[in-house]
Subunit: 408 residues, 2 copies
């Protein structure tokens, strides 16, 4: 299948408008803190949410809405600066935000998928949000994707948007997305915040299946710090305006759609890891030869999560023993004496471990490879055909600085 | 039972001598890198080792020795500066070290429990060690515990030794120990390096049972960075010189022995956490009211492992939302709306979360509490009677610095 990368984000597909404003949740008036994405027409929708048992009130409300509508939605409403989590009045606040938007935009409150991100357990200024919503609605534009993408950012240092187009039954179908997330990021979750839009005509079960599969191979393969957030949400709206033959779960177009969506979310997942809090390097773990898919994922996860591997990457130190150590403490049954490891970047590839033992290598060459902005650890377990690609980043002074006093 | 804390370490019990020398594994001639502890008479022995599937050659050799002797030992031999792990000739080197000691000390090589700690996958200078062993043996002294405790240190900033004495059948029995460990520390393991000595007369099965139980409530409740080491070893030698009635697995004295050993190892575990790489604060998680022992342990572990909780403790920031988040992503079934959290130190105690929701509190008082060197997070799940106490530390700039270029 051919997919084409195009400019833009959530407004790249037909029939979506977006906006972002500063309403006052954040002190800095220059930082937008409220985002909106609206489909011109009712859309089929699907979502996945965090598996954290402590979860935000917006997730409770979004789940209820999708249940009531049977999988329909019109709008994403998202604030940054406050997670609306562990607040006694959290659900009431989220409901009031949806009602306020419904009133201003002339849609039903149940058609709103709501999300919040920021500090946990702090009162959320509902009055400021209510005041901001009418101007948020009035600023909805076809070219508003950037404003929305900025408004959902917290410690992110850049906005994360992408869009792809591909053919379904002779019609160009487009999928666009924006996401945020920089800390409190770990896989084995639904994901962080990601909002996906498409003009594809696609049935709801096929949409949910595609989303779950795509998230599993993208956002669920990112670890920044191992802390699974309370507010992870990834949602998709499909408004059908592309005019393609409706994609069903059984159709060939369903796998094409899943492939395109997976490629899109993988690109964003990689951006997430690259923008990990304090990160100076993107770390890709390319794990092959594992006995099972589950082991491939859990071993790759161990490596990208390990603080000792992450600090070694920060120091551009080819301390492959820490990679072996992180592999070795992964739960499950596998052998340790068949493992090969190489390091790779734009500067080349170097074998550092063969059959679980060190091989002599040129330290200067290793350093040169690891000093690049994007480095890969290739690990071959040589025990099977399963593989996984996980994304992470280095652990740096700035991660500690950013998180040492996040609330103030 | 009454136990009395006394001065000293591995030489506190009768019939043990120790020494430590610089043999040249480390570049710094002022840093001792080879330690020895010898019992005057044959001792019953037991040990637990890392559960990491990548493990050091010394573990292979120590396991074989204990198997061959049926649980007897005379000596601990330990080097720092090199883990002797992932080396093709690792077992040969460890065997040669034991043979060299056996020759110099006039004991059997099978009576040696050997351990190594340091960088993984680097050639180990066997010749230097062989040259050092005769002087190591000649320096064995009843007051040599400090030298041995210094010689096993890696990134540790202070030595960790303790000893207790208590009564068994009218005889004073003493247990002494030293341990090391500062990074690559996580529970769900055997432990880091700890060497325990006792003059108790105790049967081997009772000794192994006591050691396993004590480690489970002490070293296995420490997390510094979540990386389970490849070389964790905790061993005990009991030489019987106290002259007590021999402790059997079924005797009352067996539980007294286990209690004393647990208290001793808990004290050292706490020291380990306090000396975590880069740490400025000891963090104790006091978890109560969990539905099961397993959940109590895993929830407490989530909290002390979480980088976001650890950086908040570094910043003396009462960001209890991160504690709730770390509880919430723990595997298992439990409720999130009954959780109470308070922070505690020498400056007092402050409730910050009730029934999973924030309570208003004095931020200045919270800061004052968290600025102390030792802080406790009290968490009551209010869902049962199970409890756990875990030890950890804050995540600081210095952790990143220490581990950014550990090999050089």
């Amino acid at each position: 299948m051919h997919i084409e990368w195009i400019k833009g984000g959530v407004c790249a597909p037909m029939g979506f408008k977006a906006s972002g404003v500063h309403c006052g949740i954040r002190h800095n008036p220059g930082k937008k803190d409220l985002a909106l994405v609206v489909s011109d027409v009712p859309a089929n929708a699907a979502a996945v949410f965090t598996r954290n048992k402590v979860y935000g009130a917006p997730i409770t409300v979004s789940r209820e809405h999708l249940k009531k509508t049977g999988g329909k939605a019109r709008a994403y409403l998202c604030n940054s600066g406050n997670a609306n989590t562990c607040n006694a009045d959290g659900v009431d606040v989220a409901d009031a935000m949806c009602a306020s938007l419904a009133n201003a935009a002339g849609i039903s409150a149940e058609d709103v998928i709501i999300a919040s991100t920021g500090v946990i357990g702090q009162p959320i200024p509902l009055d400021a949000i209510k005041l901001g919503i009418p101007s948020l609605v009035s600023q909805l534009r076809r070219d508003g994707a950037d404003d929305a993408a900025y408004a959902i950012m917290t410690t992110d240092t850049f906005d994360k948007q992408a869009a792809v187009t591909f053919d379904v039954s002779g019609k160009a179908v487009t999928i666009g997305a924006m996401c945020k997330g920089s800390g409190m990021i770990a896989p084995n979750m639904a994901t962080m915040l990601a909002f996906v839009t498409t003009d594809a005509a696609i049935e709801i079960p096929a949409l949910q299946t595609a989303l779950t599969a795509a998230v599993n191979d993208s956002f669920n393969c990112v670890v920044i710090d191992g802390d699974t957030s309370t507010n992870d949400t990834c949602a998709i709206m499909a408004n059908g305006l592309a005019g393609n033959d409706t994609i069903t779960a059984e159709s060939d177009a369903s796998s094409a759609f899943t492939d395109a969506l997976t490629a899109l979310l993988k690109k964003l997942a990689r951006e997430l890891a690259k923008d990990g809090e304090g990160a100076t390097r993107l770390l890709t773990v390319n794990l092959k030869g594992a006995p099972t898919d589950k082991l491939a994922r859990s071993i790759a996860r161990s490596i990208v999560t390990s603080p000792l591997c992450k600090t070694a990457i920060f120091g551009a130190d080819a301390n492959w023993g820490r990679v072996l150590c992180a592999i070795g403490y992964t739960e499950g049954e596998f052998a340790a004496d068949t493992i090969d490891v190489s390091i790779e970047s734009a500067k080349g590839t170097l074998n550092v471990c063969k059959n679980g033992m060190g091989v002599s290598f040129d330290e200067a060459a290793a350093k040169a490879i690891l000093l690049e902005d994007e480095v890969t650890l290739n690990v071959n377990m040589n025990q099977g055909a399963a593989s996984a690609v996980f994304y992470g980043c280095d652990l740096t002074y700035d991660y500690v600085k950013i998180n040492g006093d996040y609330r103030s």
